[in-house]
């Protein structure tokens, strides 16, 4: 029996109000999630590219995976794909995902995904209750903040809904669950390029500006609730797999080396519950629970007795910093403020960002650039653009900043709503400020996350993609943060060896995670393989499988005696049990390669060329500011080292790219996929479209 899929994808055309289905089977070779989303996008509009993100022809695709709705640990994120108003210099076909319960409910309602095309004449929302789908009038909901809108829509979906009781959906089908709603806020309604999609109080699809795409379609929200089943091919094998996986989890009652890994520095990476919300860390603590997305055994979020910063993590709980600090830039305000008050004000300021539906990661770069421009006297009092903001680091500052951007209020609001890259472009300063590092947009208009000079798989993986990689669990959390803790549980040599063993099919290469500058380091063929592995893992397991980038891959873990993580055994064990396939980890990684090649083909149709895939000058000309320590081979020995002071070499990066393109089956002259590669992957149609556009590699 085939499992994992419900068998149909919902297709909604907002222009002519038609509702139809796409059979999932047609796209199952792409796995699910991102893979199917890319294939559907190419089939429906690929031959019309390029066009703009706010063009009604643009699609917004929300995909679940075969894992969604099952208890596959750390899966179930919703993959959103569309042309991206937030990316630069082109609005690349991008992706962003969010956690929570949306894909689970979508699957229980009987759908593997939703494809929205066209634009409604007046504001609407889409109502999915099992197999019944309607386009509803958004009167009274349009203009609401994301929190109010979700709760209002839930009431409209099930008027009789009482929290904690059964509700009848239809025909004696019952649920105790609240409808899962994803929506844009005012930032999206007004088509800002920083508009996010929000699900629940804190789950964001933050990158790419997809809230603005919702706004451009007059689409406020999509709600899903269902009572159906996700079919499972081998239920016994799935249950056995889930119980087998317990050995890799943080044991909440008696954690492995619990005293050690409870220490500061391990909070984010140990797999312990609640570590993602960093705004409730000082006494007196606000009473709270660890809160998990559907099926996640970690529960990195919190829900507080004060209900502020519920389900927000990382930047979502700490971007807007009140009263000093400035973990994510900014700062200022009254530093004498008591910790408890500082924490509460910080949480509430961040909640305001969530309510407006602003994407925190893009907002961060924008806010930093606003500060820079004010300091430089380019904008400000008496200038054409005057932010006229209250004192930085206060709640009033954030309230005004968020409001002006979200509502495009005045000249400053219009300016900042375009996000950092286009702000710089408008001022004629893009080249100057980005190349100098004053505005650190390292890849495609998204902010530098970790050092591209040292943690190169992140930098290369982003540059050869379309946005910030956001794949923390590859090497960043397990290696950077483990070493930075001052108490690494593996030596650099041990860690690199365990990584090698997990990184199938390149497990014979001993130097996959050598971050040094030697012959086996950051420009080597080993690094070509590591970056390819990262892209393929990103496209299949994270993208098509709906994995959380804070959970997967797990090449090592502190929770086992031998530090071995579940990768690469867990992924196919679960996928095969659910779907009934019988493929290996390497087989699925090859599908990841195929999806990456398809994405690359779409970018090529939008104008991508290898000449565009270059870092800003500061990455080559200025020394790394350091950060965590990574495993490196230095003088023939594995050590942890921060790579402090390193700048990348232009010629060596270009040579690296040439070898990467060849390795992936692309023409090194331009980075375009070749016909042989595409046809070898069963994508002749893609090759034909590229050829028709003169862009076949």
């Amino acid at each position: 029996m085939k499992g994992g899929y419900t068998g149909k994808i919902l297709r909604v055309n907002l222009t002519d109000k038609s509702i139809s289905t796409i059979p999932t089977e047609k796209y199952e070779a792409f796995g699910g999630g991102h893979g199917i989303g890319s294939a559907v996008f190419f089939d429906l509009v690929g031959d019309q590219l390029p066009f703009e993100a706010f063009d009604p022809r643009n699609l917004i695709i929300m995909m679940a995976s075969p894992f969604s709705g099952t208890f596959m640990p750390g899966s179930g994120r919703c993959e959103v794909q569309s042309l991206s108003p937030g990316l630069y210099p082109e609005e690349w076909f991008g992706h962003s995902n969010f956690g929570g319960r949306f894909t689970a409910q979508l699957k229980f309602a009987g759908w593997d995904g939703v494809v929205v095309e066209g634009a409604a004449e007046n504001p609407v929302w889409i109502n999915i209750v099992d197999d019944k789908v309607t386009i509803e009038d958004a009167n009274g909901v349009w203009g609401m903040d994301t929190w109010d809108a979700q709760q209002e829509i839930s009431r409209r979906v099930i008027p009789s809904l009482k929290y904690g009781e059964w509700a009848e959906l239809a025909n004696s089908c019952y649920t105790t669950q609240i409808p899962a709603v994803v929506c844009c806020g005012q930032a999206g309604e007004n088509k800002t390029r920083i508009g996010a999609l929000l699900h629940g109080p804190g789950s964001q699809a933050a990158l790419c500006g997809f809230g603005g795409v919702f706004g451009s379609k007059n689409l406020k929200a999509i709600s899903a609730i269902g009572s159906g089943s996700v079919p499972i091919a081998d239920p016994k094998a799935l249950m056995d797999a889930r119980l087998w996986f317990r050995q890799f989890q943080w044991d909440v009652d008696n954690p492995h080396e619990g005293q050690r890994f409870a220490q500061r520095g391990y909070a984010l990476i140990s797999g312990a519950p609640s570590g993602g919300n960093v705004s409730n860390g000082s006494v007196p603590l606000v009473p709270a629970r660890a809160a998990a997305c559907a099926s996640c055994p970690r529960g990195c979020r919190m829900r507080l007795a004060s209900a502020d910063s519920n389900e927000s993590v990382c930047a979502g709980s700490m971007f807007a910093r009140i009263g000093g600090g400035g973990f994510f830039g900014g700062g200022g305000g009254d530093s004498s403020m008591p910790d408890a008050l500082r924490g509460k004000m910080t949480r509430q300021a961040n909640d305001l960002m969530q309510k407006y539906g602003l994407g925190h990661w893009q907002l961060m770069a924008t806010r930093g650039y606003i500060d820079f421009l004010i300091r430089e006297g380019i904008i400000g009092e008496g200038k054409e653009i005057d932010p006229d903001l209250p004192a930085s680091g206060t709640y009033a500052y954030y309230e005004a900043l968020f409001r002006k951007i979200s509502l495009r209020e005045g000249a400053f609001g219009e300016f900042a709503a375009e996000a950092a890259a286009r702000m710089a472009e408008k001022l004629g300063r893009y080249e100057q400020d980005v190349n100098s590092g004053s505005l650190r947009l390292s890849y495609w208009g998204t902010q530098e996350h970790y050092s591209s000079q040292v943690e190169v798989e992140w930098g290369f993986g982003s540059l050869l993609g379309e946005r910030d990689l956001m794949l923390h669990m590859m090497a960043n959390y397990p290696l950077h943060w483990m070493a930075q803790s001052g108490d690494p549980y593996l030596t650099a040599e041990e860690a690199s060896d365990l990584y090698r063993q997990a990184m199938v099919p390149y497990e014979d290469d001993r130097y996959l995670v050598d971050y040094g500058e030697g012959p086996t380091g950051v420009y080597s063929d080993s690094k070509v393989k590591q970056v390819a592995w990262v892209k393929h893992y990103e496209k299949f397991w994270v993208g098509a499988g709906g994995f959380c980038g804070w959970r997967w891959p797990m090449c090592i873990t502190n929770n086992t005696v031998d530090r071995r993580g579940p990768t690469p055994n867990a992924e196919p064990k679960f996928w095969n049990a659910i779907t009934g396939n019988n493929k290996t980890f390497a087989d699925y990684m090859e599908i990841g390669h195929k999806i990456y090649t398809l994405d690359r083909s779409i970018w090529v149709l939008q104008g991508r060329h290898r000449d565009l895939e270059v870092f800003p000058d500061y990455i080559y000309d200025q020394p790394s500011r350091g950060g965590g320590e990574m495993p490196m081979v230095i003088d023939g020995k594995w050590v942890y080292d921060p790579g402090q002071g390193r700048a990348l070499d232009r010629d060596k990066v270009e040579d690296f790219k040439t070898r990467f393109y060849k390795f992936e089956g692309y023409n090194p002259e331009n980075g375009y996929p070749t016909r042989a590669t595409l046809e070898g992957m069963g994508m002749k149609k893609v090759a034909d479209v590229l050829e028709k556009n003169g862009k076949l590699g």
């Binding site: 208890f71 519950p273 629970r289 007795a305 389900e311």
Partner: protein
């Protein structure tokens, strides 16, 4: 159907006696109410019939639950071979916008001392399985789908669960009949929800829990490892790690703990 058998005589007798009566219960104390005046709560009738108590109960810690719904999916998987929240015999509800601890409600079957589902079933599909630790069960083959057990369950939400696929009622059997799991269930066995809960927020106990409201069932299963994550129940609680960090002691030496691996 493993463990399936007819109810014993005293239950038969009880059903004959009370079959036309409705039962309301608060915190497990059952009160007989005439069907014709079912909106009026009568005084407790003298207990003339006793039922053998279950030898197993699920207790839980609703403050420890993270709302991942793994328990629900394990339940539907092991019983029906699919993953489906609506078919799960344990229900977890959560309000993402709510305030801790009211943002989560855990709702497993209480294995009631005086089980309204058993007493009121008109066809004896709901029964006490005396061969298997007196678990309150439903024989879906005998169920006629009248939903009486749903309306008679005094809990909110009702712990008898409607199976819309079969058109029958179901309820927690402590995993006695799990065709899609290789483990043995029942009062001396394992339960899918208990085994799969990553927060260890559900536990099987043999002793009858206190019957007042949810006190005996919704218990504290947390220890200092939990509190050290910063997850406290009240703001005056300073977990050991936070107290230690205020005193800035030396870090304790790590002691590897042996852990079983498959």
């Amino acid at each position: 159907m493993p463990g399936s058998k007819k109810p014993e005589n005293e239950v038969d007798a009880a059903k004959k006696k009370f079959s036309r009566r409705h039962f309301l219960a608060t915190g497990g104390a059952v009160v007989a109410v005439d069907a014709l005046i079912s909106s009026t709560t009568a005084k407790a009738a003298p207990a003339t019939v006793s039922y053998p108590t279950s030898k197993g109960y699920l207790v839980y810690d609703s403050k420890k639950c993270a709302g991942c719904t793994t328990c629900m999916l394990s339940c539907s998987l092991t019983h029906y071979g699919v993953q489906n929240l609506s078919l799960s015999r344990i229900q977890i509800m959560q309000d993402s916008f709510g305030k801790f601890p009211d943002d989560v409600v855990m709702a497993p079957c209480r294995q009631c001392v005086t089980p309204p589902c058993v007493i009121n079933c008109p066809v004896e599909a709901a029964f006490i399985d005396t061969e298997n630790g007196n678990i309150r069960r439903i024989n879906e083959e005998k169920c006629i789908g009248c939903k009486t057990c749903l309306s008679m369950c005094p809990q909110q939400p009702h712990r008898t669960v409607w199976n819309h696929v079969t058109g029958k009622s179901s309820k927690c059997d402590l995993c006695l009949d799990t065709p899609y799991w290789s483990e043995e269930g029942g009062v001396n066995g394992k339960q899918a929800c208990v085994e799969s809960c990553p927060m260890k927020a559900i536990k099987l106990v043999q002793a009858l829990p206190g019957q007042k409201e949810t006190e005996g069932y919704d218990v504290n299963l947390r220890n200092d490892y939990w509190y050290n994550l910063g997850l406290v129940e009240n703001s005056t609680h300073v977990p050991p790690r936070y107290a230690m960090s205020q005193r800035k002691p030396k870090t304790s030496k790590p002691k590897p703990k042996p852990k079983a691996k498959e």
